[in-house]
């Protein structure tokens, strides 16, 4: 039976744009050479969207999601960069939002709130992060800001890999090391294979023939990195930005964009747990679970009607745990679900079809918007070589964007416009 959709107003997304996710893996990347900065990425993503809607005059508001430009780039106050994208965005509302790696998702949510409150019809949502300004060992300090700073002292040098390594360690203990690693390995292989299909993906140039063999060779080593993860289990250090238009039905009309070139927001949820508390259950992403349930409920559908998911795989173990949190696999069965190929692009539930955070890249503050762009591409047939075909009875897409260790979560359900 069809459940009730709880959206008060029809909202849409359209005109998505991604910059390249720049960093190790890309042929153009040379750590010793000067690279484009934060301004370039905001500007490129913004202009990429504006071009598709024939000018910026109909945009009522700009929201920029960003995590740590204040430390990576010594730059705060990002709302002030809207005018850099286009003169016509000046003297209109513009602000930045932050929720660690869910900053991009919060940018979308913030846009939606403006639309729902009636103060705007068309909002430009941007996500951006430029992280290659510091070496990884110092980047780890910056990213640790997504956790509670009181815990930093006793945390790992690589703080977040340390957090998810601990989760992986408990998963190994509970369900078996080889069992878990088989699922995580397949997650990594899928990520790279999907990234190869997207020219903007950081791993687009990856030509390693035997990805699984490479993964097997690199055993986790706590002396140089973390105890339970190798570097292939981790997302990339990336510079990148994404942008998309969030609009009301009226707004879409004003832009003259057909609904077939837009996705409708069917339901959404944004919830946050207490950052000062440790996760209640190390082998469950509880906040993701709650947010996903709420978003599906608001959309009036079940997970069975969803045809593709973009989930926040900052680490391969987070990808595996997400399949459980979304109810695709039972608790402890996620590794098996992934290892069986069910999340691959030809599987039962294609996930992260352009590579996700491990394959496409993870410009932290941009990721939430990038996920929305991918779903928009897939649902409107704009995904190029990465295009998948959604089954008729499962026309929905879904994004899960997570900040910190399952602290801030944005879950959005989309359907073809």
């Amino acid at each position: 039976m069809q459940k009730q959709n709880k959206m008060q107003k029809k909202l849409y997304m359209t005109a998505g744009y991604n910059t390249i996710s720049m960093g190790t893996g890309r042929k153009e990347f040379n750590p010793k050479k000067t690279r484009p900065g934060l301004e370039h990425y905001i500007s490129e993503a913004g202009k990429g969207v504006v071009k598709q809607i024939g000018g910026a005059d109909k945009i009522d508001e700009t929201v920029i999601g960003n995590f740590m430009a204040a430390r990576f780039n010594n730059q705060a106050h990002l709302g002030g960069f809207a005018g850099l994208i286009d003169d016509k965005l000046e003297n209109k509302p513009s602000l930045s939002v932050e929720g660690a790696c869910a900053s991009g998702g919060l940018s979308l949510i913030s846009a939606m709130r403006s639309l729902l409150s009636g103060t705007a019809e068309v909002v430009l949502s941007i996500g951006v992060e430029v992280q290659n300004t510091v070496k990884a060992i110092y980047g780890a300090d910056v990213l640790a800001g997504a956790g509670w700073f009181q815990k930093r002292k006793n945390g790992h040098a690589y703080f977040f890999p340390g957090q998810f390594s601990d989760r992986a360690g408990v998963y190994y203990e509970k369900y078996g090391y080889d069992y878990a690693r088989a699922g995580m390995k397949r997650w990594f292989v899928n990520a790279i294979e999907n990234a190869r299909l997207d020219p903007e993906a950081q791993e687009h140039h990856n030509v390693t023939a035997d990805l699984a063999g490479l993964y097997d060779k690199m055993k986790p080593n706590g002396r140089s990195f973390v105890d339970h993860l190798n570097v292939l289990d981790c997302s990339k250090v990336s510079d990148g930005a994404s942008g998309i238009i969030v609009a009301t039905e009226e707004g879409l009309k004003k832009l003259g964009i057909e609904k077939s070139q837009a996705v409708e927001i069917a339901g959404w949820a944004q919830i946050t747990r207490n950052i000062t508390k440790d996760p209640a259950d190390m082998v469950e992403l509880t906040t993701i679970k709650k947010a996903a349930e709420k978003a599906l409920e608001n959309a009036g559908i079940t997970i069975d009607q969803v045809g593709t998911v973009e989930t926040h795989d900052c680490f391969s173990i987070a990808g595996v745990l997400a399949t459980e949190a979304l109810g695709l696999a039972a608790k402890g069965k996620g590794a098996e679900y992934v290892a069986a190929g069910k999340t691959s692009r030809n599987g039962e539930m294609p996930m992260n079809t352009t590579g996700g955070l491990i394959g496409w890249g993870h410009p932290t503050g941009a990721t939430g918007v990038h996920q929305a762009v991918t779903i928009w591409q897939q649902l409107t047939g704009n995904a190029g070589k990465a295009q998948i075909k959604l089954p008729e009875n499962r026309p929905y897409g879904m994004t899960i964007n997570m900040g910190g260790d399952d602290v801030t979560v944005v879950a959005i359900v989309y359907k073809k416009g």
């Binding site: 060992i137 110092y138 300090d141 002292k153 040098a157 706590g222």
Partner: protein, 445 residues
């Protein structure tokens, strides 16, 4: 005196030099790690970095800061545990900065040799000159009440001669790092008949702490490394002279260099290696070794002539290669020195002709870069040199003769009592000279 106590007062002589700066870096880091152990809290650690050059010492401190920072960034996981009690050090950034400070505060750059009068342990890395080494060590020992231990980095002078002439009575051993000490894993350890057992124990513990591979060598001039390299180099020089009967010497030098690099699958050809070490250094080491050899004459007129023309090779302070027998552009060989015209001749003018004369490499040839990574090197090189032995190529024949000679040099080091066994010779050449296969082998039999 325990290991930790010994390391409280140390000096490095020639600290701003190529070898000295590396020894200083490794020692400073080891001393800092010892000083940071909880039981050593509050104790003072001093490392005198002694050198005659004020300018060199200023550059040394820049080098140290840069290198220690890199080391700290690589071992931050460990450092976080080391500073676990320091509540004020929270981020990696804080911890790394503190560690760099803790290493650098141990180091006292100075031109005053008198500072070594208080040291317990003295690393000597001054010029390869016995008289100079003896003079300095004697002076320090006479003024130092601690009966210090001396670790000399000499690569050729027999240790017992320094011991006797400086009256050190068992308190010296050869601790021979390879260049650059911070990177090269090999240390040749040379003791005299009188070397104190506890000093030998310390040397092994210290090498282990630095994660070095220790190969003991007997106290014969040149030891294992230079014992092999100098003879191998002389063979190459003489071969070039022989080939020069039918062609200009610069073409012969080009061919022997190519022969040793490509046919014999080495990281660089023999003339490039001579340039890398420095023509002056090679000549000097041969000169130091030669009086101690009874059945051979380790001397090259060609090296003398090159030096007379002030063509020296060696490296710039940036690490870039200076021109010697060969001329380099961005690391690649572009010309060869013609001693008769006293100028470099561009290789493009003659390389094709020379390559043709040498002939093709065996079909199963793999360049050094990939061969060195093979899991089963033995079977690869066995098949490779078999193919070479069957070949009628001029180059193949010369290479087989060269390989045979290199093998014979290795065996002679053992029969002359320099090395304990063939394995030690092979370890030195594999780790110290980055050879891809054992110089003592059965490939050429």
């Amino acid at each position: 005196m325990t290991y930790d106590e010994r390391l409280q007062q140390v000096a490095v002589l020639g600290a701003a030099g190529k070898m000295g700066s590396g020894i200083l870096l490794l020692t400073a880091v080891e001393m800092a790690d010892v000083s940071l152990k909880p039981e050593n809290k509050g104790k003072t650690y001093v490392l005198n970095a002694i050198d005659l050059s004020e300018e060199g010492l200023a550059g040394l401190m820049d080098y140290l800061r840069e290198q220690v920072l890199k080391i700290a960034e690589k071992k931050t996981v460990t450092l976080r545990k080391l500073y676990a009690e320091r509540a004020d050090l929270i981020e990696n950034y804080d911890i790394i900065a503190q560690y760099v400070n803790d290493v650098l505060k141990i180091v006292r750059p100075t031109t005053a040799m008198e500072t070594a009068y208080r040291s317990n342990l003295i690393f000597e890395a001054v010029t390869e000159n016995k008289a100079l080494k003896v003079k300095i060590l004697k002076q320090i020992d006479e003024n130092n009440p601690n009966k210090p231990w001396f670790f000399t980095n000499t690569s050729s002078v027999p240790i017992h001669l320094i011991e006797e002439e400086a009256a050190l009575k068992g308190r010296i051993l050869g601790f021979h790092f390879y260049n650059p000490p911070a990177v090269q894993k090999l240390v040749e350890l040379i003791v005299t008949e009188a070397s104190l057992p506890e000093m030998q124990q310390f040397a092994n513990d210290y090498a282990k702490a630095l994660r070095k591979i220790v190969v003991p060598s007997n106290d014969k001039a040149g030891f294992i490394g230079n014992g092999h390299f100098m003879r191998d180099a002389l063979f190459g020089i003489n071969l070039a002279k022989k080939l020069a009967a039918d062609r200009p010497l610069y073409e012969a030098i080009y061919m022997v260099n190519k022969l040793t690099q490509d046919f014999l699958v080495r990281p660089m050809g023999i003339f490039q290696l001579i340039d890398y070490v420095g023509i002056d250094v090679v000549q000097f080491i041969m000169h130091v070794m030669n009086p101690h050899l009874t059945d051979e004459n380790l001397h090259s007129d060609l090296l003398d002539q090159m030096l007379k023309l002030d063509v020296r090779g060696g490296q710039m302070s940036s690490g870039a290669q200076k021109d010697g027998f060969l001329k380099y552009e961005k690391g690649a060989v572009t010309a060869v020195y013609d001693i008769s015209q006293q100028k470099y001749i561009d290789v493009t003018g003659f390389s094709d002709k020379c390559d043709q004369q040498l002939g093709a490499l065996p079909e199963n040839h793999k360049p050094w870069k990939s061969a060195v990574r093979l899991a089963d090197k033995d079977s690869h090189f066995s098949a490779y040199f078999d193919a070479m032995k069957k070949s009628d190529n001029y180059g193949a024949k010369l290479a087989v003769a060269y390989g045979k000679n290199s093998d014979a040099i290795g065996r002679k080091l053992v029969s002359d009592g320099v090395a304990r066994n063939h394995d030690d010779v092979n370890t030195v050449m594999l780790t110290g000279f980055f050879h891809a296969y054992n110089p003592v082998n059965n490939f050429f039999a």
